[in-house]
Subunit: 356 residues, 2 copies
Amino acid sequence: MKTYGVILAGGGGTRFWPLSRKELPKQLLNLTGKDLMVNETIDRLAGNVAKEDILVVTNCTQTELMLEATAGRVSPDHVLSEPAARNTAACIGYAAMEILRKYGDGVMCVLPSDHYIKKTDVYKKVVADAIRTAEETDALVTLGIQPTYPSTGYGYICHEEEKAAGGFWAVRSFVEKPNLEKAKEYILSGEYLWNSGMFFWKASVIMRYFEELLPEVYACLQKIGGAMGTEEEAKVIQEVYPQIPKISIDYGIMERAGKVLVLEGDFGWSDVGSWDALEALYEKDEYGNITYGEQVHIDTHDCIIYAKNKLVTTIGLDNVIVVETEDAVLVCDKNRAQEVKKIVEALQDCNKPQYL
Amino acid sequence: MKTYGVILAGGGGTRFWPLSRKELPKQLLNLTGKDLMVNETIDRLAGNVAKEDILVVTNCTQTELMLEATAGRVSPDHVLSEPAARNTAACIGYAAMEILRKYGDGVMCVLPSDHYIKKTDVYKKVVADAIRTAEETDALVTLGIQPTYPSTGYGYICHEEEKAAGGFWAVRSFVEKPNLEKAKEYILSGEYLWNSGMFFWKASVIMRYFEELLPEVYACLQKIGGAMGTEEEAKVIQEVYPQIPKISIDYGIMERAGKVLVLEGDFGWSDVGSWDALEALYEKDEYGNITYGEQVHIDTHDCIIYAKNKLVTTIGLDNVIVVETEDAVLVCDKNRAQEVKKIVEALQDCNKPQYL
């Protein structure tokens, strides 16, 4: 059976503000210093999915930039444009319908477009296992990341004690971001993995779950599917898509589906959720700093300093994030990188849309 | 006797980098939010010195900007341009010679161009007293600032115990920047004032001291004076000025002259020597911050944040200085503002003249 990459690239990032903007979300940033996050995600599928079988689902506000960014990698007619953001169930359903109607059934590798993976070789092997498992078992397969610390920033997947012969576990439940105490318990139990948001299933299998568990979403997808390949396609998508109920694939299907399996991944994963996550991506210098761009430091330690255009200079700083972009500067306690979204909210509240 | 203002405006500032540059020193900055430092200094003389009797001595690299900045305040032929920086004795001698040869004798009010004074009315009264004292006594008169804390950043003037009827003290000695212990002793003694660098004397009197105490400087000044008003003037200044020995008026004359008097000033003075000095100039907001420009803060206290062009945002900062200009950003521990010059040195060392 053919395998399709489905890259979810419609999110609007606020947590890398001021670098990320409404129309320049994280997936379109080069945070690694190598390539845009979305292109790294695409290239990482090499060996598992043929280049011409990769689809990217993005939001209409980003379509133009996405086409430009992925030119030469993804065929323009494989960049699906959502007329509105309707959460992950909608865009995964849209991609599944596209595959079913236009290319026949296939295994979908559903991947976030803005995650970092250190050990690509290990990743490729696990993805190959996941594709095979999805094809052989007709299950919904997900990758769980072996936790390296009791994170309160990630969701968890609780699995059965015993691993099956295929190297996977049956999933007991999906668990939301825990407090620190719970997170420690999870890790000690050995039965919890981080929820990576990477999913593998046949298009036909997930579509049956839509029909069973999310009938309203399914009805919309049916309308869209009916118009696919006709002259009405664009018009129907434009009309129907915004009516799809907003629900995540986790809440809508994964937590309620009958047959969900998890494969363990241990490939240096990070969702790169905020500026401090750059510490997983870059080598620190001898003073513990991660730096990008033109800089001069005096007695500066354990900082993250990103200079896009200007010279950035520091004196006597510890554990501070400094980010400089065309029109804004952020200076933030490194332990409070999560609060960058509060700046974005404040900018909304005080009506400064030029910075969003 | 006529009174002349002599504003010393030739210094090249590094301590307000990145706002101050080699060709845009502190005196040409608007640090108060009201006007350029040099113009505030000029305007502060109103009532004591007629506008047309104010001279500005600047460095040739800044002459053009200075003429532009002071246009309408100072007659262009009253802006004296030093062909080279030769310290304060040279430029004060040059101005004294200019006054003697072109306007006859007069009392000179020699003032740094980049100091801040909060209580202008008190200042004007003390300056009037100083002018009168200089005229009546033929002494070298200086203003000593009533210390408000044991500063290790200022020089001190030690005076006699007993005040004379004229309201001044005879000066015992000039003292260099002390350590904290010494500074505390000075303050407790009640016989020490901060050296403000403001001097009042007759042009003829200071010229006699040049002749007596700095004969080499005097010889150069004589050559320059001899050419004044002739076609050779510019050429001679260009040739002779760079040969004047480099020495400050404090070392060269004040510390060695026979008759030096000091008047006490208590008018909210600051030499605005580094970024943290802005705390004396601005009202703090309810969180103890001093801010200039477009900003958004979350949980930020006791900071100094200067945003020239861009939006500056902060999260969880205490006692930090953030300065943003066209081409550079500085983020500095507030207690280490003195070290900004080290950044400038580092930029010199790593050959980045565009930032100097």
